[in-house]
């Protein structure tokens, strides 16, 4: 059902929702950018519509809200352990279609990956309701259309802001909350249908690509900082840390913390073995995971990457993810011609 609001009636809805939900959205934080006197756009808690940043893409994705960067799994003493408390409140996230699709990719990994599901993920994830923000235009690094992640069909609400008017398409679960302050209108979500950047993703990638020279330049260029991983809405890797408290080493906690396949140490194993020592190999691993391996493993009809473009936005070495996809595509086309088998 569609409803129309002005800013203050929409804020009434938000105020009432905040009794039961913690509400997150892209926000602009003054002077918190990496560089002096610059701002940071990222996900943060909001109270009113005016808090929401509608114009700029957020630096980080929303995943840290339900997949925390550092998450304590349990606390332990010598003979007992206990689980950390989580807030009883439910969660609303205002996010763009690519981020909404990114959440589905994470669901696949944490919830539908073999017989067991990740309970820690599930506990937070099941609280989350998505209010999808309509993209008025696509940003210069977006390629969501190529990845089929420009559209969302399941959401709790779909939000369009046009000046001082807010139009919402609302699912039945939230109907009551919205109908109280809104006026009924017809509202059909509009999605981005074309990006400036289009990528061609090769369907079949021969194994020989493993040793292709296209990766070599990334050994020179990439500095293994991991920014491309931490901003990605679909990167799901974590590592474990057992902490023994400094004051009393018989107590402590086990945490899981995000990990990055681009950073040194990711593949370190007991006994001192490690893989993918050079960065070109890491680039190959990341790229193929995003646009080949995930889809192949799960037999799904979409790739892991949702084309948000953040990894290109944040790379300090100006490495463009989409340029790398194009190079891969060219390499695959030409290796096909040379008759390399997969």
């Amino acid at each position: 059902m569609g409803y129309s609001f002005n800013i203050s009636t929409f804020n009434n809805v938000l105020r009432e929702l905040s009794a039961d939900y913690i509400i997150y959205a892209p926000v602009k934080i003054f002077n918190k950018g990496v560089f002096s006197d610059t701002d940071l756009v990222t996900y943060g808690q909001i109270k009113t519509l005016e808090d929401i940043e509608f114009e700029e893409k957020s630096h980080f994705s929303s995943k840290e809200i339900f997949f925390p960067i550092t998450q304590t799994l349990f606390y332990f003493t010598e003979d007992a352990f206990s689980l950390p408390k989580i807030s009883p409140k439910k969660i609303i996230i205002f996010c763009r279609p690519c981020d909404a699709n990114g959440i589905q990719r994470l669901d696949q990994i944490f919830l539908k990956n073999g017989d067991l599901m990740d309970n820690y993920y599930n506990e937070l994830r099941k609280k989350v309701h998505l209010f999808v923000l309509e993209c008025k235009y696509s940003f210069d690094t977006c390629f969501c259309v190529s990845m089929g992640a420009n559209k969302v069909d399941r959401y709790s609400a779909f939000i369009r802001r046009a000046g001082d008017t807010v139009l919402c398409d609302v699912s039945v679960d939230f109907e009551d909350r919205f109908s109280k302050y809104g006026t009924y209108v017809n509202m059909t979500p509009v999605f981005i249908e074309s990006n400036d950047i289009k990528v061609d993703i090769p369907e079949k990638i021969p194994k020989s690509i493993f040793y292709h020279k296209l990766w070599d330049e990334y050994s020179e260029r990439c500095i293994a900082c991991g920014r491309c991983n931490v901003v990605c809405p679909t990167c799901s890797c974590f590592t474990m840390q057992d902490i023994f408290y400094e004051d009393n080493p018989y107590c402590g906690e086990r945490r899981r913390v995000w990990a990055s396949c681009m950073i040194d140490g990711f593949t370190d194993m007991a006994g001192g073995n490690s893989f993918r020592k050079n960065k070109g190999e890491r680039m190959r691993f990341r790229l193929l995971h995003k646009i080949h391996d995930f889809k192949q493993k799960f037999g799904s009809n979409h790739h892991m990457c949702v084309g948000c473009g953040r990894c290109s936005d944040v790379c300090p070495e100006n490495i463009s993810f989409t340029a790398c996809i194009q190079k891969l595509n060219q390499a695959v086309q030409s290796s096909d011609q040379r008759g390399l088998k997969s």
Binding site: K32, F35, S36, D37, T70, C225, F244, R255
Partner: protein
């Protein structure tokens, strides 16, 4: 031959050169940032009155050489838009902009490019230059001030009477930290080794930290973010024949208000203790006579010292003397 009052000419921003009756004009560019519209004026003067060249000075001004002294008043009229745009409009009181620069003792405030461009910068050096220019110009005391955005010190603030170095207080959110150690290794390699890993998270030793902000720049997850802006002031650096030496830290983790107030107070101190038998005297030599404690009494008057701020108790300058037999 023209009858020239050398002292007046120098005060007016012109130079006594090695050719009689020929002078050079120095254009101030506070903070080293100039609207290119003024290039036309500089170019016209160089072509019409000078020898067609400009010298770019080490203090980031322009020096236009080869000008006949007879043309000074004519040229002063021509440069008046520069005095208005670069001085009056930022709040400097210029009595009559058509008679040229009112003083030349306090030199142009130079600055690195700062946070308008440089990713390392911790503040806007151009804006602070203007505030300082407003505070101290015009003045006859020979004072050299330079502002640099971070401890890389591209402007060589350490060679000035007063050097201002940008700092930032790094704020750490341990929940965001993924323990990648990028900040730790980098601080060790390029800064001061102020960071260590304890239980997979980072500890910062505030006494070692110089507030350069490198950790903020290196952190992929923004576990480090920018806190308040602070400054370090280095004082009494100088070049020159007698005893050149590099400036040393007088205050650190102080705010902009403290920087401005100390600079203002410095002029009272100089006024009190300068050796007036000399045409000019660097502050450092004055402090050599009065001692640091007297210097502190004067320059810290009415300065608010914040809780993080540190003021040097002692400053040991070595510089170098002229006992050449020690070295050769």
């Amino acid at each position: 031959m023209l009858d020239i009052n050398n002292k007046k000419l120098i005060k007016n921003g012109y130079r006594i050169t090695n050719k009689r009756q020929i002078t050079a004009l120095r254009i101030r560019v506070p903070g080293g940032s100039l609207d290119v519209k003024y290039f036309d004026i500089i170019k016209d003067i160089a072509q019409k009155y000078g020898n067609g060249k400009v010298h770019i000075t080490t203090r980031q001004g322009f020096e236009i050489p080869g000008i006949p002294m007879a043309k000074i008043s004519e040229i002063n009229e021509i440069i008046h838009p520069i005095l208005i745009g670069m001085e009056s409009e930022i709040g400097v009181s210029i009595h009559n902009p058509k008679t040229g620069y009112p003083a030349a003792g306090t030199r142009n405030i130079s600055a690195c490019i700062g946070n308008n461009v440089c990713p390392f910068a911790n503040y806007n050096t151009t804006e602070l230059s203007k505030k300082i220019e407003k505070l101290i110009y015009p003045h006859d005391f020979h004072v050299k001030i330079a502002l640099t955005g971070c401890p890389n010190d591209c402007i060589k603030a350490h060679m000035q009477d007063i050097g201002v170095i940008g700092m930032v207080l790094p704020m750490y959110d341990s929940n965001r930290c993924i323990g990648c150690q990028a900040c730790v290794k980098n601080c060790q390699k390029v800064a001061t080794g102020a960071l260590t890993i304890v239980n997979y998270k980072v500890k910062r030793d505030h006494l070692r930290c110089i507030g350069c902000g490198e950790c903020i720049l290196k952190c992929p997850v923004l576990a480090w973010t920018r806190g308040e802006k602070y400054y370090r002031m280095v004082v009494m650096g100088r070049t020159g024949k007698k005893n050149p030496r590099i400036a040393q830290t007088f205050m650190e983790w102080v705010d902009e208000t403290a920087i401005l107030k100390v600079i203002e107070n410095l002029y009272h101190y100089i006024d009190q203790f300068i050796d007036r038998s000399l045409p000019k005297e660097h502050v450092g030599y004055i402090v050599d006579r009065t001692g640091i404690q007297v210097f502190k009494d004067y320059v810290l008057k009415d300065v608010y010292i914040g809780s993080l701020s540190k003021i040097a108790n002692y400053m040991s300058f070595s510089g170098y003397g002229h006992e050449k037999s020690n070295y050769f």
